[in-house]
Symmetry: D2
Subunit: 333 residues, 4 copies
């Protein structure tokens, strides 16, 4: 940590600050410049509140140098992580396609969708059993029954399943789920992250609506610090002032996250745009900029879907997207 002191600081003030830092077990290096004095701290600065130091009268500004995240950091793990899910792999060159309906609605529906997306090349099946809805009066999912239907679809197709958890108390229901998804609204539900850190199954962590990349990585760090290093990051759009699309898909997050971290990064163009007709161009763009996979909503009858029908592709549209994605991957890999 470096603190830059104001130009009018006295020697007495510098001594008092130095003393305070040394009390906390840090080594202090002072370098006086023509216009300012710089205080460098060496040792474990993690317990120092940088904002507090910055708020002191004598301090101009503070800069942290050490990395806030460790286990998720590419600096300390230069190789791409490869996450295994059943027979499929995600990251380190393996492109994952997670497809399925927003909500599981019936055995017939989920098996039909699972079979069609598998035929088009999907490698995992998604489907919501617990649905976070802004309104308490909206359909909230089939819950336990939804997970059972997903497992039937897995049995029928062999596709591993991905579904969202909304509460620690539901964890026992997720025993046979292959990948547990943490939704955008729970990205900073730290108690949930810590519990998921005790499992050894893959966690798909979606970026919060207004979360920075650093915060996303710190949330991954919560899971990893608790012992579970199988984390998959997912960019799904951030909240901005633009209203034509539901959110603003931040695709530059893909190469940036891959530079900062060794974890796989996938993209969800369905939730990001909220519009079925934008899913294809955004899926192709995600593949082109280096994503490790896609998460796409597919429904056999989008107009009857109980939630988010507006952003679901038909199986035919999904098949068309997959063909183009494969061609893009041939170019960029």
């Amino acid at each position: 940590m470096i603190a830059v002191l104001k130009s009018d600081v006295t020697d007495e003030q510098i001594q008092s600050l130095t003393g305070w830092f040394e009390e906390q077990g840090l080594q202090v290096h002072i370098s006086k410049g023509e216009f300012q004095t710089i205080v460098g701290l060496i040792g474990d600065t993690s317990r120092i509140d940088g904002d507090l130091v910055e708020s002191l009268d004598m301090v101009e500004s503070v800069k942290r140098i050490s990395e806030p995240f460790k286990k998720a950091n590419r600096k300390f793990h230069p190789e791409d992580s490869e996450i295994s899910v059943g027979n499929t792999k995600i990251g380190a060159g393996n492109f994952a396609v997670i497809a399925g309906p927003c909500s599981v609605e019936s055995e017939e529906q989920i098996i039909a969708v699972a079979e069609s997306v598998k035929a088009s090349g999907a490698t995992l099946l998604r489907g919501g059993a617990f649905k976070p809805r802004t309104s308490p009066y909206d359909f909230q999912g089939l819950h336990e029954e939804g997970i059972k239907l997903l497992l039937k679809a897995k049995q029928a197709t062999g596709l591993p399943i991905v579904t969202e958890i909304m509460s620690i108390t539901h964890l026992p229901l997720f025993d046979d789920v292959d990948v547990i998804q943490v939704g955008a609204r729970n990205m900073q539900n730290f108690e949930l992250l810590k519990e998921l850190g005790k499992l050894n199954k893959p966690i798909l962590l979606k970026r919060g609506l207004s979360s920075t990349l650093k915060e996303l990585l710190m949330s991954a760090e919560y899971i990893m610090a608790a012992g579970n290093e199988n984390v998959i990051l997912c960019e799904r759009g951030i909240r901005t002032f633009e209203t034509y699309t539901r959110n603003t898909l931040d695709l530059s997050a893909v190469p940036m996250l891959k530079e900062l971290s060794h974890l796989p990064v996938i993209v969800d163009p369905s939730h990001a745009t909220g519009l079925a007709r934008l899913v294809k161009p955004m899926a192709l763009a995600a593949a082109a900029c280096g994503a490790d996979g896609l998460m796409i909503e597919v429904h056999n009858n989008p107009q009857k879907a109980l939630c988010d029908g507006a952003q679901s592709l038909t199986p035919e549209q999904f098949s068309d997207v997959m063909k183009n994605v494969e061609q893009i991957l041939k170019v960029v890999r």
Copy 2:
């Protein structure tokens, strides 16, 4: 719900859409204008996915008319709600001042702060026992021990206590807490909200960093729909592009929320700005624009605080703020 159709829509398309709406039990009114056709729906439109309708080729746009929130809505409850907490009241003309440290650190600390804020006019004591921290490596609070210390401070001063919950599984520890706080990061932790809706103690609900006022009210609705109508709303700054302040305090949210809802609205200038020296002007501004109360961080030794010291007032500074707030209230009430 009103759907505006595109100008080139055919009679056949209109019939097909009308049929679909009627199947869902709705009455349909068509009015053809010079340039567009408008479809009005009467009945319970809550099960209709407006985004889906808007995504149909023939539809230009859709407008919901019915209110998305009911129990929190001033339209259906014109009188201000008054929330009782022990001997103090919040809302309906009662100005609440919740003060105390970011974190409970020791018995000595919390009792000293409680006594000093009470002397200056605070009506409730705050203190964090469970602390949401961006980094898993930061101090996370004293947990159960922290709540015990808060209860000792309550015993010593008579001030009701407010503290944050981070997980449903901690609920048994909150039995003697007077007001349970839901932090910004958990504003859309819907499973937690539903559980809190089963209690009959006041819930202080903080606005999420990137939540709209409508989303805040829908989260209040989750608690209220489950049976607990004792909800206090709290504006604590939203995330914008500006970086001089930690967040951007949205004070126009105060009169707007009070127009939309009968629930009390308080303001937290400490977290909103992140800077102790901005707390006073923002507290005065909040009182001036009609807030029902304030939540302010006070620490007997901000420079040694284990978290958020940079935004904590000393007891002397807090006393000065309180004197000015009282004068402002005389002007605006």
Copy 3:
């Protein structure tokens, strides 16, 4: 325009409102529903202030139906526009690549860059002569001399030139410029837009940092309404809370703008990200999602560049990007 009235509105109020609308020459259609009354207006509603109507006590909400932009609207011009610049074309299937340095610095520099980008496939040369800089103390460009050097580079290579205008008073200097660029900060400099509307040369209009797509199209409409229909739209990143990248490139703007308008849409990944190493992935993503072209900063010696060196590619890097872009285009076109 449709106005939805509040549920408790009286017949007298409806009559008064109807009378007021009729005074302004509009036809009024009233339809009373179970819960609300809807007032539809037919005729030229462009002079009605929708915000004012919405602010009336009796009005619940207002919805405009007519399109705010006409000449830029695909609805009224279904075919893609094709803009001719010298021997090159932009839009309607013609992919434009505009490359060159942030600033023109010397004859040697601009000719060297022009030759190298032409060799790699660029179709137009860019270079700043007038530079908008946040600080008055930063390098502001070579001005008239810069334009002369661009013209020499055009003579040497045959590439048409694109350069930014910052003031109406500089217009005479732009006589021989092929495409005049309006920067993000001037997107709503309406007096400048009106003047450019009197020319008949192509205008490259960059999206403002916090402009919605609708505002971008309305600014295009300013130019077109004044008589110049040769407008090229450019997405170059919007301002959000994320700080790892300079701006957030909004690639979903590309398919959305192309749906709303017939004008060509190009993407500037250099300014959007501010980081040379993100230019390639974002350029490929832009090509993949349907952009009509790219604008890329290239400098023969980025480390000595007088401005924005951090985001400039070397000629070698640019050549590599071009090869990949061409392959992507083969897939998506």
Copy 4:
């Protein structure tokens, strides 16, 4: 400027970097820590592109220490600036109230409004003659005729006048205007700012919709660096994701700007909220948090206003606001 180098940097790389800095006339101080090497630069670093340095492979991060703005900086001018306009003063304890209609519409209208706002205590008259409108088809103001009518109202009431300029080419029409306003959309129209810097009349500079406080101060610096130090800053709301209010009024900007700069800071609650009924609470809040003045839209017949009627107060409402503002000022001053 301080550059923090990556941990794996070689001595050779450090030498090469040091050499490059020294070539640009800077003194270089190296301090090697346990985990990183810090390079401090002394001398005139204003010509160094910090982003470029940060983009070098060997560099971890860069921190500028010197202030980007000088003339607007309170550090170098600790006393509040007092701006004189005719017989009235703004700043340094003088509270300014600028009131009047969005647009000047007729002699009768502007004189009626001027007389009524003067009676209620306004100290300057505002009125738009050149109106920036998002749509080219909306009313754009009376132009030269509007300024003439403002001057008549000045003659009738003695109130100095404030009106917005949209183009350098209109400058001759503003000879008799007392305060020239630069609107939010032109805050970074640098050529206009430079021209206004050559005048010696007060400039009212509005914050751009998505401008940081630093950018606002840099734009003030453009005017001041060109010779005109009479700049008044105006907070008028920023663009966020919230849609209930037109913009989000950032009141913490007031104390923050006053800490950073000696220039007066006024607040425009009318444009910030877009809703007449929010003007009073926000005006009181602005006065409470230390603003040096207010800018408020008042119209004698808001329902007939040609623009922004929804946010205009009636003269009676304005008089009520003024009474309350005066009481607030007594408390906080």
